[in-house]
Symmetry: C2
Subunit: 554 residues, 2 copies
């Protein structure tokens, strides 16, 4: 149990040194509030893993202190870990309307129905123990995004959440620069700010520019238009709908997450849709093709997504034809380049025209570039700065940006997940570490797949395995049946019969050797089999399959 002090502790448990699974803990004496609880997708070497969530051991140990969890917006890297978190910690959840709408959906899927969801809007203040919390409106690639001001006994902390500065946003949701200015005027102790785009000079383009590109494309398209984008990008969806209405097209939605998000966003008033614009996918044939837009998922090339299914002729309701035009309104997330281009190539092979980012301005980022970051730093004038939401290179570069603006190096904390950064009114320091890291979710198992299991999966994936079974008599130490050899993922057995027969011979020799030496210790016998077979196989074919000797005792 941590010692009580008069210091404010800020503990990022996720989102530092990575883009994903954001979660930050704010602690003062007996009070803890948590900001966000995201998930991330598995790295390549995390074979078979579905999602990765943050390690919340520290919060479980301090659960009586937790007053609430505050959500900055409804993206998976900020809310995706919530069902797992709430499965273990029954804590009230505060968020804006759309964010909670999306969370509610998610909790239903996980059958978590006893969670207290509390709508909380910008410009209201909420006192929870030592903290007073206020949301500040920002711009981002999902509506209802907020920054958070946390008023603490040692000073004010501002966490930007994910943001950009868009002077011409969709739905007139301007970032509340007044509030940032006011906070800066009154004095900010610590800033935590989004580092995603810190390597990019200049400004992020306005979401409106994408709408202009849509208009240019919609006016010329001779037949159906298919737009693939992130389901959560409600502004993008709005612009597709606007362009459709302007050019007299009906909108069809395909893809489960797109349907879900549009439903939530529309019900909560985040989408303006004219009566009759949306039609059912089964009514599509009633309209000429130049009066149809299909809004869909799969902008990252996900193999099971609606767009991938269309590309590979596996979509049950939509058959693409050469006159169709596909717009990929998204950038590839690093690591997804190959999958998305596989879909694009397949679409073009079908004769469909495809417009993607390298060909037209059909996407803008949701994160602030250097000049926007400078504006926020300048308005807030924080005493201390913790760059968050970025790989190490982003955090470091963001620290340098703060120094260029005049902040002393020692007031900037390039921290890790698990770092405890303690603040008084005048000082700040990284003092120690608490447990943090990746919890791997595989099917229903949470955290039961770790390094050994992953190492085995990797080994199996590269060279397959050979199982050797021998039945031995316990009393005499003699072979009664076998050796039998079964292999999987190793070689085509039919074409490698000689190799397998030679392998069996190698094992027989080991067995007769052991019999001569009267070895009845099965562990020794197994390792002899493993060693002999491994050398034999490697010499023969330069592969190193997993070898699994099993001795049955009779």
């Amino acid at each position: 149990m941590a010692k009580k002090t008069n210091k404010l502790k800020i503990i990022p448990l996720g989102g530092l040194g990575e883009i994903g699974k954001n979660i930050t803990v704010f602690e003062y004496k007996d009070d803890i509030i948590v900001v966000d609880c995201g998930m991330t997708f598995p790295e390549d070497e995390m074979l078979g893993i579905d999602v990765v969530i943050p390690d919340i051991t520290y919060l479980l140990k301090n659960k009586e202190k937790i007053k609430g969890i505050f959500l900055t917006h409804g993206h998976e890297d900020h809310i995706g870990g919530l069902p797992y978190f709430l499965g273990k910690l029954n804590v009230p959840v505060y968020g804006t309307r759309l964010t909670l709408g999306l969370v509610e959906n998610k909790l239903k899927e996980h059958r978590l129905d006893k969670v207290k969801l509390i709508e909380f809007q910008p410009n209201n203040k909420l006192k929870l123990g030592s903290f007073t919390i206020e949301f500040i409106k920002t711009s981002h690639s999902i509506p209802d995004s907020v920054a958070i001001a946390i008023y603490t006994p040692v000073g004010t902390v501002v966490h930007t959440g994910d943001f950009k500065i868009d002077f011409t946003p969709i739905n007139d949701n301007l970032i509340d620069l007044y509030k940032f200015a006011e906070l800066g005027c009154k004095g900010v102790l610590v800033l935590l700010a989004d580092s995603t785009n810190v390597e990019r000079p200049g400004y992020t383009m306005s979401e409106k520019t994408v709408g202009d590109t849509f208009n240019d494309i919609f006016i010329k398209a001779p037949a159906r238009i298919i737009v693939a984008t992130f389901a959560s990008n409600v502004h993008r969806v709005q612009q597709v709908i606007d362009a459709a209405e302007l050019y007299n097209r009906k909108v069809v939605v395909s893809g489960r997450s797109m349907i879900n998000t549009i439903n939530v966003a529309y019900e909560l008033g985040y989408l303006r849709i004219k009566e009759g614009t949306m039609i059912d996918i089964n009514d599509m044939h009633k309209y000429p093709s130049n009066q149809i837009v299909i809004l869909t998922t799969g902008s990252q090339g996900e193999p099971m997504s609606a767009l991938a299914r269309m590309a590979f002729s596996e979509h049950r309701k939509i058959e693409l034809v050469p006159d169709d035009l596909v717009i990929i309104s998204a950038s590839p997330i690093p690591g997804n380049e190959k999958t998305i281009f596989r879909v694009i190539n397949k679409l073009i092979e079908r004769g469909t025209k495809v417009i993607y980012e390298s060909l037209a301005d059909v996407h803008v980022s949701g994160h602030a570039c250097q000049e926007e970051l400078k504006l926020i730093h300048t308005l807030l004038k924080p005493k201390f700065f913790i760059p968050v939401h970025g790989e190490y290179r982003h955090l470091k570069r963001h620290g340098e940006l703060a120094m260029e603006l005049g902040m002393p190096r020692e007031n900037i904390f390039i921290a890790n997940n698990g770092s405890v950064i303690e603040f008084t009114k005048n000082s700040g320091a990284i003092t120690h570490e608490v447990p943090s890291g990746n919890v791997l979710v595989d099917g229903l198992g949470i955290g039961d797949v770790g390094n050994i299991v992953l190492r085995d999966r990797k080994h199996l994936s590269e060279d397959g395995l050979i199982v050797v079974v021998v039945t031995m008599s316990k009393q005499e130490g003699k072979v009664i049946a076998g050796p039998d050899i079964v292999s999987r993922g190793f070689v085509y057995v039919r074409e490698s019969e000689d190799l397998m027969e030679e392998a069996r011979e190698v094992i027989r020799e080991v067995l007769s050797e052991c019999e001569k030496k009267n070895i009845t210790d099965w562990a020794t016998l197994k390792s002899s089999i493993r060693d002999a077979l491994r050398s034999f196989i490697f010499e023969k074919i330069k592969r190193n399959p997993m070898i699994l000797p099993i001795i049955m005792e009779v």
Copy 2:
């Protein structure tokens, strides 16, 4: 056996619909020449595969016709498949000096010492059967790159190889635009041209611009400079050496492929190095750190490369310190983004400064952009066009570019690997297909890993496996020993003892059920075990491991 006709057949066996393993066949009556024979790296789903080479079944069937193989340059995607090709087909190999130097090295590794390597230089002509072949000097990211003119009885074919147009190349190796003009004047029947950068407008920057950036960086660097680039980019290496000599630094080389390539290039006169510039890695300590440059591999973040080993403190001779400056002089090849940024993050975490492409002009492409392609099309004025060296989207776009320049759509052939494109003096058509595709190399095995093995590896990689062994008496059909369960890559066994015990119980029930029913057909018994266990596991934990029941008969 194909029918003899008076038509020229052009058959790409690799490099179409992909970037990699380029190989093109030119056939007229009894004569075949082959251009290039590359390799490619395995796709994500080709688990455990080392390299991928083209299927040359067609050439094996027509081997008596093959007069020679011509190499455009020494990159792996053009020469990497050669050892496998030459292991099956003893054919003379024609190439420029550096290309053959690199091939020689490669053949030594594969112990192929009886291959006839014939140096062939631009502006010479060689008659082989129905064909006369001429090399044309081009610019690319490796010296001694050439395009190929093939004079055939139906007309002249030009294959650009990989190229760009660099008016200020390193070592004054200007592309021979005169020859392209001359060929265009005389008339070109078919053009095959590099499509890699066809999506990019404008011109590719000159290699010289990278040298300017190096100079800016070298003059300011306070300590050691480490430059990581492709070993084969001899011009880049030259520019590093030039900058080192200019600013009085010694050059150390680390990384096997970098050492090999520099040796070959230097011996053949492709690198100008002053006496005393290169020093041994063991003498590095004799110089102050601001007099050292380290040239190294690992620009793609390859885990075993010298740069990655430096980043993760695993390099035996080089320990990085915070004042060191690392330049990554390369772009991430699509799919490598995550690995390279993992290395960059680690380097920055160590305190090392890292300069990479998103921060400075430390790399230029080796492939022609749109305006360069237009120039070559315009100079050559070919009657027919086959875009090559690209994914489908590139080939299609390149076809559109040719149409923008006035070529009729029907004269452009967007082909596949294996397409046979037949030409007379006035006509061209894709007539049929020959076998083509990927041959997977895993260790010493060539082509013995196919879909079933890969499917098993994928299954094993995602959910691991459970082996169930039972020893049965043949006569009575009774269980004598077992069931024993062994799992790998599935769950932590220690933490899942209950699950495994329940699983054993499920199998015992199946066995006793089968015993009651007097089932002595082991196939039925195995599939009963598999089905019961699969359902049980999926219900319990939503995973689907491979289940391998083995019955030992006594």
